[in-house]
Every structure is written in C-alpha cells, then in structure tokens.
Amino acid sequence: MGAWVAPVLLLVLAAVPPFTSSYVLSLVTQALIYAIVAMSLDLILGYTGLASLGHAAYFGLGAYAVGILTTRYGAGFWTTLLVGVLLAAAVAAVFGLVALRATGVYFLMITLALGMVAWGLAHRWVSLTQGDNGISGVPRPVLGFGLSLARAVPFYYFALIGFLLAFVFLRVVVRSPFGQALIGIRESESRMRTLGYHVWLHKYLGFVIAGAVGGFAGVLWACYQGFVSPGELELTTSVKILLMVALGGRGTLLGPALGALLIALLENLVSVYTHRWLLILGAVYIGTIVYAPEGILGAVRQWRMKGDRAWARG
C-alpha cells in the first residue's frame, strides 16, 4: 500500500462533510465507528491469528456503560468514556484468562460462550439494562468549550477524531516490537516460544487491548445512536465484525476500515432499494470467502505482486 493512501483518505474525510447531505454524513459516521471496532478485532484476528466470536461483547459493554451512566446518573461524556473503556478492558482481562487456554476452533467456541454471557446479562437483567426494550434517550455528548455535537457535521468530526485516535494508537501498537511479536506468534507460536518470547502474555495483552478499543467504539456508538439494545452484543453482531475484517483484508488496519465502510453502505443503501437485503448480505458473506479469501486488500496486494513480477521479467 503506497504511503500516499492514508493522507489522501484523511484529506477527503476531513474536507467532504460540508458538501454532502446529512444522510451520507450519518452513514459515514456509522462506518467510522464500525471501523474502530473492526480494527480492534483485527489486532487479535489478523495480527495474532485468533478468530474471536465474541467481540461484540466489548462493543456492547462500552455502549451500555454510556447508556446506563447517562440516563440514570446524568454522567458526562468523559466519565462515560473512561468507564466504558475500562469496563471493556476489565471484562476482556477476565474473558482472556478463560479463552486463551484454547486455540483454533476451541478458542472460537469459548469466545462465543463468553460473548453469550455478556449478551445474556443485557437481555435479561431488566432492572439495569431494560432488557429487549433497550435504553433510549442517550444524549449526545457535551464536551464543554461551547461545542454542541447534536448536529450531524460536528458529530461527524467528533467520530472522525475518535477514528483517527484509534487508528494511530493501533498503528503504534502493531508497529511496535510488541505488535511484531504478535505477528510472529501468528506465523509460528512454537518458534516464538523457542526464541524466548512469553507467548501467552503477548496474546493476553493483545486480547485486552482489542477489548478496550472495542469498548471505545461502543461508547461512540451509543452517543451516535442515542439508543442501546442487546442487539449490540448479539452473536450476529460478532460475526458481522468478523466479516468487516475478512472483507477488507486481515492483518492490515485500512482493510477492516474499508470492510466496515462497505458493510455500512450495504446495510443502509441496499435496504432502501429492496426488502431482500439479508439475502444480499448472506451472498456477500459467501462471496468474500469464495472470491476474496484474503479480503480486498489481500487481493490488491496479490495483483500488485503479480504486476511487479511481470515487470521484473519484462
């Protein structure tokens, strides 16, 4: 991926809002928040090689922290942000202890069971979460400095800053020696162990960081939607996040962001034109695995490598 891609994208994202409708803007806002949670999952899926079926739990925890704290206790944004992220990290720290005892299919299944624990609480603990009715009336954040985020454009920039923070943070993580060790573990766990790395601790820290960033996305999501429901923690949400990562390209940060954008577009646009959007979404799931098993960026990379080789032969 050329070095120019990220700055150009950023420029487009920053410059476009005043020229688009509020519908498109809210759609891209949604995509930016999805992108954060997708990138966080990719830290363990793409970089560490652990497929989790329970990542929606951290997203939901962040969202519920905002929903409960604002509507019941009138908490401010910074409090909810702190609690949401720390709660998600703490729960990931507990879940990680259980889940990381397994690998492969077993890891997948244990994360599924753990995700269901979180979903079950949201679904049934009615006195706290209001069950299936969800929590409505979550206010848009007030940041002080006389800024109002009630309107679409300011909130868009707010989400964009959140996205950039998460992107830069995760980029620093994956570029660091720690992140490189995660990639090493993905490629060969036994070799990393022989080299003297503490494999479990690396995985565990990666798992907790992913959970914390997932919680951050959930906090933004609750602010954006103004509504939190158990749907945020459902198994289908976890799988949807997996799809975003797989569709865009595992093991990159821009890939999951691209996947998140495409899924957000699909969800919103296709349902306008047809009632059969589940059918189309299902086809995208299958098509991704059949036609682009390494995701869109993976396919682009392969295509460019072929081009380079042809040029070298030329």
């Binding site: 899926l45 497929a51 079926l53 202890l97 259980v98 005892r101 397994a102 492969g104 299919v105 077993y106 997948l108 299944m109 244990i110 599924l112 069971a113 753990l114 269901m116 624990v117 979903w119 079950g120 609480l121 679904h123 049934r124 603990w125 009615v126 006195s127 459902e234 198994l235 289908t236 799988v239 997996l242 799809l243 797989a246 595992r250 059969r276 589940l278 059918l279 979404l281 299902g282 086809a283 995208v284 799931y285 299958i286 098509g287 991704t288 695995i289 059949v290 098993p293």
Partner: protein
Amino acid sequence: MEFWITGLFNGVSYGALLFLLAGGLSLIFGMMRIVNMTHGSYYLLGGYVALSVMWRGGPYVLGVVAAALVIACVGIAEWNAFLKRLGGQELGQVLTTMGFALIFQDMALVLWGGDPQTIKIPSIFVGTWHVGTLYFPVYRVFIVGVAATVAVALWLVLERTRLGAMMRATVDDPEMARGVGINVHRISMGVFAMGAGLAAVGGVVAGGFVGVYPGADFEILPFAFVVVIVGGMGSLKGAIIGSLMVGLLDNFGKALFPELSYFTLFAPMAAILAVRPTGLFGRA
C-alpha cells in the same frame, strides 16, 4: 418439592430437544471440525417444511420424515458445494455458514411469511398426565422419548456396527482412516446429512410447543454450540450430558434468578471450559 420435580422434568425435556440439535452438530464438529452456523437454520427450516406438509393434509409423522429428508439434502448440497473445501479454515467456515444462515432466514421469510406458526400435534399427545399433584404434559414426555430413542440408536450404530467403527475412526484420525481404506469423504457427507436431518426433526418437535417463527434459528444456535463445546466435540456421551446440563441450568436459572438466567447458564459453561478447554468428554 413439586417445584423441583416439575423443574427437573421441564429441564430434561428441553435438554432432550437440544440433544436432537447438538448430537449431530457434535459429530460434525468432531469429524470435520466445521463450525456450522447454519445448524440453527436446519432446525427452523425443518419446522417450516413439516408445516407445509401438514397444511396440505399430511399427517404429523409424514411432516417429520419429510423435514428430515429435505433438510438432509439441503445439508448435503451446502457441504458439497462449499464446506468441504474449507477444512481447517475456521474464519472461512464461520462466514460461509453465516451467509447461508442469513440466506435461509430470508428465504423462509419469503416462503412462509413472518407470522409465528404452530405445528398441530397428534391428538394422542395432547393433554397432561396427572401423578399425585403433579402434571406432566404428554407432548413433553414424547419429546424425551424421541430424544432417548435417537440417542440409543446413535449409540448402537456408533459402538456396535462396522459403519460406526468407521465413523469413530474418522473422528479419531481422518488420515489413518483414509489410509486403511475408509471412504472418509462419503462418511463425512453422511454424518453431515444426518446432523442436518436430526436438527430438522428437532425443529418439527419444537414447533409443537414453542412454535415456528423467524429468529428461532439464532435463538437456539448458541445453546446447541454450548452443549457441543461443554460435552466435548465428537462425543455422543458429551452431547447427552451437555444437553441435560444446559436444559436444567436454563430451566432452573430462569425460575430462580430470572434477571441473571442466561448468566447462570453460560457462566458455568465458561468455567468448565476454563478447566477443560476441550469439554468434558472431548479429546484435543
């Protein structure tokens, strides 16, 4: 006392229903290591197929048989066209089968509509048995009977026949099984079809008391998964004990701690997995 006996009975009968799903799912897991998110759809579609048969005047039994056969064919088609190529790729399996689950969900909506339906149960199963002050719905006793019959039949096939020995060999070590001349491909396909068919039977049976409705597929799927992982993938004994545990925990959890009921179900499961990541009777 009454509370405990009634609860025990309800838990066991729900466990029996879960076993119909989880028994096949567990063998599929054990043999092919395929994470099949479509298994809940087989359950849902099975109920709908039986409904269609019975709307046209077919008897209950014909509905059960038709559901099992049709869904077994759906399973074979899905497996042959996509899943058998995805061995060892968990992510690919999850996403592909999830895609199918969404497509089936939408197709069911088109073909059978969004209203909840009930499968009319044969008149001999209507009513309740009275034992002292206790009441046992006959239909729930019937479900336990069906599950017990399936469990015994599966056990006999697995442990007492040549086919069963070949199946166990395939679970234990597919490569060696292939080496001694077992057609692993055909055995796997057969097991996949059987698992799908059993899930469909479960859907028909469940349709008699909880009904058939959109969303039932994703409601039951996590339960079936939890049974399989707690019992141990590929273990029939594990599937039986796991089903009973989940059925009882679910039932008593809902009665005793309504607000925490799913927590009381899934948290002990997670705790078991923390101690034994491969489940109670599973081998790595």
